[in-house]
Amino acid sequence: MEFVHLNVHSHYSRGWGIGSIEELCLSAKGLGMDTLALTDTNGIYGMMFFLEAARDAGIKPLGGSEIVSEGGHRAVLLVRNRTGYANLCRIISDRNCHNGFDLVKGLAEKREGLIVISDDFSLLKRLKRDSVEDLFVEMSPGYNMHRCLAFSRSSGIPPIATNRIYMTAKEQFRLHKILRAVDLNTKLSRLGPEDICREHCFMNSPGAMIDQFPHVPDAVENTLKAADRCLKDWDIFTLTFPDFEGMTDKEAFERLYIRTMDGCRRRYGEVTRPVRDRVEYEMSIIRRKNFSRYFLVVADIAEKASRSCGRGSAAASIVSYALGITDVDPIRHNLFFERFLNPGRMDPPDIDIDFAWDERERILDYIFARHGNLRTAMVANHNTYGARSAIREVAKVYGLPEQEISRVTDRIGFNWRLKDISDDLKNHPKMRGIGFEKPWDEILKAAAGLESHFNHLSVHCGGVVIVPDEIRRHCPVEVSANGAQVLQWEKDSVEESGLVKIDILGNRGLAVIRDALELVKENNGLTVEHPGWRPINDQKTVEIFYLGDTFGVFYFESPATRQVLKKVASGFTFEEYLMLDHFLLNVVVTSIIRPASNKSIKTWVSRLHGGHWSHIHPLLEPVLEETLGVMVFQEQLSQAAIYMAGFDAAEADALRKVVTKKNREKRLRDFYERFLRGAAERGVAPDVIEDVWQMMMGFDGYSFCKPHSASYTMVAYKSAYLRAHYPAEFMSSVISNGGGYYSTLGYISEARRMGIRVLPPDINLSGIKYTGRDRDVRGGLMQIKEVSRDSLDAVIHERKRNGPFGSIDEFLKRTGRDMRLQDAKQLIKAGCFDNIAMGLKRPGLVWKAMQFFDKKEKAAEPTLFDFTEKYESASGYLPGRDNYPPQVMLKNETETLGLLLSVHPLELYRDILSRMHHVLAKDLPGHVGRRVAIAGWLVTGKTMLTKEGDPMKFISFEDTTGIYETVFFPRIYNRYCHMLNASRPYIIKGKVEEDSGTINIAVEWIGFLDIHKGQNRCLPWGED
């Protein structure tokens, strides 16, 4: 080794660095180097990835960061030991959290364990006063090298050579300039020399670097000396659990044991032998692994919410169940604790909890208040440039106007990767009609280069880390835009570093249940949720799953899930279905529709309906028996390795994780060898071993473990119970909480199909949220766009205090102080005052509001007396005595509510539909095997790839009679995909097909209905 690069930036040097960490490591290795530093600017965002990539590339990793402070001071800091690492994290945190951060002062206080390299003479002079050890003058070609050398000689601080690497290769310089222009919000021609790095700041070979320093050989030698003193094995990361009320291990265990037994008595009534045995078993492992405090912390958090739902493998624990963290009885539903904790598991346990989405912030506030900012921080997300943002930013640098950029970016799909498709993008069917004139070629090329580069840090939706000492010595923190303290690492790095993360996730389904239960109590005085509430045993609830009527039901509402439910039910009468363990069936359904196992749906359903099958090998019988020989749950993969090849629990768990990772081949090789050997030792034939291995490798997408599925299914049963018994209360809660699988319009249509009347918002009858009672759902004021929440709260408050409003004048008098004219106009245009208009039409109401607010504005200051009386309308004239024309009424409705509430949008095309032969959605079962034309409004859709990699799409449409599923096979998708995003009425032509009780239309042609508006001729579509 002749030279070590000690100032190296990856794309995690925001706005500067080009190239990934993997590329840097491979490039260094390719140039014959065995040691490399990573010193991203003001952060160690990519530290954990670097350690892994360096290990894979056979490079010794040196960690550090280049700190640039606001006063213009800069220094590269390299970590020498554990103390140095803690100091580096603290310095970076101070740099990112405090506006007036002074690097010189910070380093003077926290220099221990760090190597300091800098060309900042004032900083070096100050640090030299303490010691010259581990202090170097940085000499980089192109950066005042001669002055640095002179300073080194005069000050006695040794020189060190660096190349300030911002690019992996020389060719990336143009991309670097584009990135700088993006970062500085300028254009290429305005970049000054100091705005960009030098053209030679790429990964140079050691020989080329040595050639730069013939006059200062010691600068090169010092890179080796400094590297030698740096931390290289990185064994400083260990499991770090939160503390609970300062308890010792023993105290925490005893507290946990007592609380668990209390919980069991509450849950089970009496503690039976199996329950006690299970508790003892789990507690013994918890004690051995010292997890008691972690459980207590999580239980303490769960207690603060109205309801929660444990996710992941934690739902397999009776301790979690007893503490109220989860809601599924692991004994009754046969859930194995080992999936959650086992003696061999080395990584931290992972208890994730769902809370009602609108309570999440409050819970996070509680955590920060209880444990303090010193010990707590949120986990980050690393937001990288995606296809859209990369194109948008680069196109702006090239000076394209917003409209032209959006024309392209609006058509780019969610998961598109420019690196894979940039050459084909211009010819992609979705881009039909876009010219891609010059300079789009350059833009697309640069955008592809920029894709996946670090853009900014954001806050993970719920991951929070609590440590017992000081969070800033484990990982640097920043302050997010909303004021939260956030780590520089995302969840994988957090886990890799041994920090124990608790996921506090928002769940709409829980909020729906909470709100619906409250409405039921308000309407009927009933408390549905009592200790004896067992939705699993309720026939009407089970019927919801049997019929696939799960629109709005938590986790079971997607078109794909509803189709699987129908397929499952098609082989049974309802009575037979009731006799089955339908809960287990639905637990399987929640997981089998995940990407890892959805290809097995057909096999599983046919076996369920009595199709012949046998286990692939008797050894797998205990693993796959309950899922009929099909691999459905996450843990079945690891169990297969245990039962078939004798893996231990930790080994099998590691295998499960590797299977789902990208670039897994290299790491799988060892596991494969081990699997072959183990299975052969158990007498399994080679072809069976290969079949089982392939089955395990096929289980590579996202999947659920059984406890997680069971936990979600339990929430779904509660949800379905409310849909079955209190449909209006349920649907109104679903709409109010939003964020479901379908749009608000989709839920409103479903409510109508359920026989519920959907009523418009009313100033006297509506609440903020939607409300439901009997067979009516009343639109909530929340649906009205562009009205401030404060104004709405003021309306509700005033109405509660002084009763309903009698007229618009009274409304303005009583609420005018808290309202803006715009708010009042929106309420009027949404029809909220139609019931108290006193003969006025909406334009007249708007006029009255304008008069009122004009006078209010003109009043200099309120008088001693009731000022509202003073502003009584003086003008008797009202413009627009007539109401708006129908098209303006509909336009206003769409604009103020964001959707058409009064009629289904397809109703507006009734005249066109009356002139064409078409079938209705409710009649589709009678047209199986025939070609039909049908009207449709797009509800939701999902794009998939075929085995050949061609895109196709499943889309749910609805008409006024029902919702139906369509399939756009690749050829048809290619032809029509550019038409599939519009909120427009479609006419669809295709063949009706049936598969295990589900109806689909294989689409052959689509068009828009609205282009025929105003025409008066017969339309050509019709049934064959």
């Binding site: 090239y398 409209q403 334009p843 708007v846 008069q851 004239y877 413009p879 627009g880 007539d882 336009k891």
Partner: protein, 387 residues
């Protein structure tokens, strides 16, 4: 005495002018747009192209998709200027009070000319006939008691002819028109009128009191009310006598490279300064207008720091203005440079014998370049930055 105002309007003026020289363009869809740039914006549309769905402001690429047979002509400022000159000369015979508002639009105040030209509507007919004969241009003429009503009247004529609004009937003429015809309404207020107050006709606006109209138009209420009643006191103002020099460039496609844009800017300054030198004037005030490809405009002006007709001196002020006006990254599509407050150079000599050698040198170079250009053409010699 009643006022008689005529508004002469030649629809699609630049295209109509082109058609006078190129009869093969008649009855064909034609637009004016900078050539060889798909993202260029259409500047003028013939009625035939309008019927194909093409409108002013559309991108050329899109227009060609709508109408592949479209004939695209490049902007011809010289022809338009010449056309404006001929039009002005034609109308100037009828009254000294004439005001060119935009290319192809002229107001004439013919009050008191009855004994010369007869009634105003006859005069309008005669002007239309003269222009039709002299220039072969179709003329739409509106006649009324004020500029606004005459202008609206001319817009109501499909292609050629005269529409006369009798004195005292302005209000009833305006009443059935859509509120779109009221000048100064703006998109936001129009939306408020139509979609919030259900007011779609001018007569509904006229029916409101000024006090009521304040709720909609604020301080402009009186003006709008007068307009709705057909009242417009604006006089016909003859062309300003304030001389100015300006040059503009419509860039093919967009440009956001400062080096190229500054090159173009220098070219504009160079042309202006040459005209100033020819006229023997120096400017006191300079201005720059930049239009981006998304149609947003930025205009800046400044006092000239060293009044002289040398492009090297004038450019320094314009370069400063450029960086103020062009703060956005979006490509630039149009630039215009102007110089105003022109006056002869100061005859006053310096009190001290300070000789500006640099200035003398520049003057020599500029003079030499002017001579070369005069002899061999504008492109014969150029500064490197303008290439």
């Amino acid at each position: 005495m009643y006022q008689n105002i005529i508004h002469i309007h030649i629809p699609s003026f630049p295209i109509t002018l082109e058609r006078t020289n190129r009869p093969e363009l008649r009855d064909r869809p034609v637009v004016i747009a900078p050539p060889r740039a798909d993202r260029a914006i259409i500047l003028s549309v013939s009625p035939e192209a309008g019927r194909e769905g093409i409108f002013k402001g559309m991108t050329l690429g899109n227009a060609l998709k709508f109408c592949p047979d479209l004939t695209v002509l490049p902007p011809n400022p010289a022809l338009v200027e010449k056309g404006c000159g001929v039009l002005s000369a034609a109308v100037a015979r009828y009254t000294p009070l004439w005001e060119p508002s935009r290319p192809g639009h002229v107001y004439l105040d013919v009050t008191g000319t009855e004994r010369l030209w007869g009634r105003a509507k006859d005069a309008a007919w005669r002007i239309g006939r003269d222009i039709g004969e002299d220039m072969s241009l179709p003329v739409a003429a509106g006649v009324a008691g004020n500029k606004m009503v005459s202008s609206i009247a001319s817009r109501l004529i499909p292609s050629r002819g005269v529409l006369d609004v009798d004195h005292g009937r302005e209000s009833s003429f305006m009443a059935p028109l859509s509120v779109d015809f009221l000048p100064g309404i703006g998109h936001i207020r129009k939306r408020m009128l139509l979609e919030e107050l259900n007011i779609s006709l001018v007569r509904q606006v006229a029916a409101l009191t000024v006090h009521d109209l304040r709720l909609i138009f604020g301080g402009d209420a009186l003006l709008i009310h007068e307009r709705a009643m057909g009242i417009d006191p604006t006089p016909v103002s003859p062309p300003s006598s304030d001389p100015s020099v300006s040059e503009s460039i419509t860039i093919q496609g967009d440009e956001n490279d400062d080096v190229r844009l500054l090159g173009m800017l220098y070219g504009l300054v160079e042309r202006c300064s040459r005209r100033l030198r020819t006229r023997g004037m120096v400017p006191r005030r300079a201005g720059l207008t930049i239009r981006h490809s998304d149609q947003s405009e930025a205009a800046r002006q400044t006092r000239v720091s060293s009044p002289c007709p040398s492009d090297l001196d004038l450019y320094a002020d314009l370069e400063r203005l450029f960086f103020k006006a062009c703060a956005r990254r979006t490509g630039v599509r149009f630039m215009r440079v102007w110089f105003r407050e022109l006056s002869p150079p100061l005859p006053q000599l310096s009190l001290f014998s300070h000789v500006n050698h640099e200035g003398k040198k520049r003057e020599k170079i500029t003079g030499a370049m002017d001579r070369i250009r005069e002899r061999y053409g504008d492109g014969a010699i150029r500064l490197g930055r303008t290439v």
